[in-house]
């Protein structure tokens, strides 16, 4: 081996990783400074997918913003709808019919299942298990997308929830189909865990990598599975009990070390808890209207005021902050995206690890660039 000349031996190498890098999950760029293969500095660069979401929403009516929220985190459009309609309901003081609340919980938990399945598949793909786990996860996700399509008309851009309810009632046989999918998902999870969770290579690759200390996670405002993997017990479904989450029995899985493996495992366990919620909700759902007929969807003009509605989206705390001046469009519309806030600690997690680990650390944060850049 030829040794580099002495004047080059202490040189740092700066790499622009992305925006076209296949492992960055979208158009995301990291400026990584490397000493050999070790990361000494990392700067995330956002903004490649900026679509002016907030300003567009300040021009459109309250109803017309719902399809735009689908496109924030395009994997979980149902929970995006939910967070937005929740804040509009707070702003305008609207009540939601009982059946609609149950439908929201069902579609929300289905969304969590498919998001975590996708994430686990992509994360394992980033770790080198090419194709197989991702395809298994997508096979299962497809069944949930079929449910969404028969319910709302679209597989990913559902545009389904409305202020004070949902757009339409469940089609015939939908609940049975959903129950079947939920039952099948349990055996899929067993299969998925048998596939790789105990795999020695995966354990060696992910344990102790990208540790996020609980103190730092709390200070940085990290939420969602990333925070719970560090051992902080904070789930908005339990803390806020928005909707009707106080009626369901489920536990919040916590990690111990806060490394990549814990973040993966917390999501697998969360899927099992989601299945418990789904099972209860699908059996308890009452009959009744799904939309309050007295509420005007079209010309909604809430009284002047402000409201912040937040939910536990699959990626963390998704909140919408709205200020109304009494007009047909919000005066100020602000999204609190979980992906963006969770990304801010990326440098702390990556320092001292190799560039190959940066890929799996980023994968375990679970970002969708539609939400980061908006």
């Amino acid at each position: 081996m030829i040794a580099p000349p002495p004047e080059l031996q202490n040189d740092l190498l700066e790499i622009a990783m992305g925006p076209h890098h296949p492992s960055t999950h979208g158009v995301f760029r990291m400026n990584v400074v490397l000493d050999g293969e070790t990361v000494v500095k990392l700067t995330p660069v956002f903004g490649y997918l900026h679509r002016n979401h907030e300003k567009i929403a300040e021009k459109n009516s309250y109803l017309a913003s719902i399809p735009y929220t689908d496109r924030l985190d395009y994997i979980c459009s149902m929970t995006n709808n939910w967070a937005y309609v929740l804040s509009v309901e707070k702003l305008a003081g609207l009540a939601v019919p009982e059946r609609a609340e149950y439908i929201r919980v069902i579609v929300g938990e289905l969304t969590r299942l498919q998001n975590h399945a996708c994430l686990a598949g992509f994360l394992l793909q980033d770790m080198g298990a090419l194709g197989t786990p991702l395809m298994y996860a997508f096979r299962e996700r497809e069944k949930i997308l079929d449910l969404f399509e028969s319910l709302s008309g679209s597989r990913m851009m559902c545009n389904y929830l409305r202020f004070s309810g949902c757009r339409c009632d469940l089609p015939d046989g939908w609940l049975e189909q959903a129950l079947e999918v939920a039952t099948g998902f349990d055996s899929f999870l067993d299969q998925f865990e048998a596939l790789l969770t105990e795999n020695e290579i995966l354990r060696a690759r992910s344990e102790g990598v990208g540790v996020l200390p609980p103190g730092l996670a709390v200070n940085a405002g990290v939420t969602g599975p990333g925070l719970r993997a560090s051992g902080v017990n904070y789930d908005i479904r339990k803390v806020d009990q928005y909707g009707i989450y106080n009626r369901f029995k489920f536990r919040v899985p916590l990690g111990e070390r806060g490394d990549v493996f814990d973040r993966y495992m917390v999501r697998i366990l969360e899927m099992r808890e989601s299945l418990k919620i789904l099972d209860q909700a699908l059996h308890d759902i009452p009959a009744g209207p799904v939309l309050d007929p007295k509420v005007r969807l079209r010309n909604l003009r809430p009284k002047p005021g402000e409201a912040y509605g937040r939910i536990e989206s699959p990626k963390g705390e998704l909140g919408f902050y709205l200020i109304s001046d009494g007009g047909p469009a919000p005066y100020r519309y602000r999204v609190r995206p979980p992906s963006l806030v969770n990304l801010t600690v990326l440098e702390e997690m990556c320092l001292g690890h190799t560039i190959a680990d940066v890929v799996i650390i980023l994968g375990s944060v679970d970002i969708v660039l539609g939400e980061v850049d908006r």
Partner: protein
């Protein structure tokens, strides 16, 4: 034992591989252009305009009220009102559109236009094989107009409800007309 996890995972892969030859749960792929899944009733793609009767342009239900154009999140609908009024299915005089364009390059297929239309005129189609020659992305009235029996065919439940509501309105209007015309005649 080191390697047990790997072997267990490989067993799972082997079971899946084997199953892909005979197990219906694993045969999930559809050979698309030759095979197609049955279309779902709720599926939505692009909007279309419903007309009654034979002539697509004369029978349009649209009254050029522009609610859809105002509510459209992407503002992709352009409507120009015709100056003349024509009677609608209840005999009321209504405006009609002279121009009704939808810019398909901008439309995001959300279905808000169909949701807010008070005349059941604009509905969501479910065609998805939309590629064609040329670069014309703006669909005009003639491209958008589709007959009511097509709507009944693609969304039977919704169409039945719409047709029933319209027939009921028509019946009421005729009864009212008959009631008001009887004293005048006597």
């Amino acid at each position: 034992m080191l390697g047990r996890g790997i072997l267990r995972g490989l067993m799972e892969t082997w079971r899946n591989f084997q199953g892909s030859y005979y197990d219906p749960a694993r045969l999930t792929t559809v050979q698309y252009p030759e095979e197609k899944l049955p279309p779902l009733e709720n599926a939505r793609t692009i909007p279309f305009l419903i007309y009654d009767g034979e002539d697509p342009l004369a029978g349009l239900r649209c009254t050029a009220c522009s609610i859809c154009a105002v509510e459209c999140p992407a503002h992709c609908i352009e409507i120009v009102k015709d100056t003349a009024k024509k009677p609608d299915y209840l005999g009321r005089m209504q405006f009609h559109p002279k121009v009704f364009n939808i810019d398909m390059a901008v439309c995001m297929e959300c279905g808000i236009c169909a949701e807010v239309c008070p005349f059941d005129s604009i509905k969501m189609d479910r065609v998805f094989e939309l590629s064609r020659d040329g670069r014309r992305m703006v669909l005009q009235m003639r491209d958008l107009a589709k007959p009511n029996h097509y709507f009944r065919q693609i969304h039977p439940t919704e169409a039945a409800a719409v047709d029933a509501a319209r027939a009921e309105e028509q019946r009421k209007a005729q009864a009212k007309k008959a009631a008001s015309s009887v004293p005048a005649a006597s």
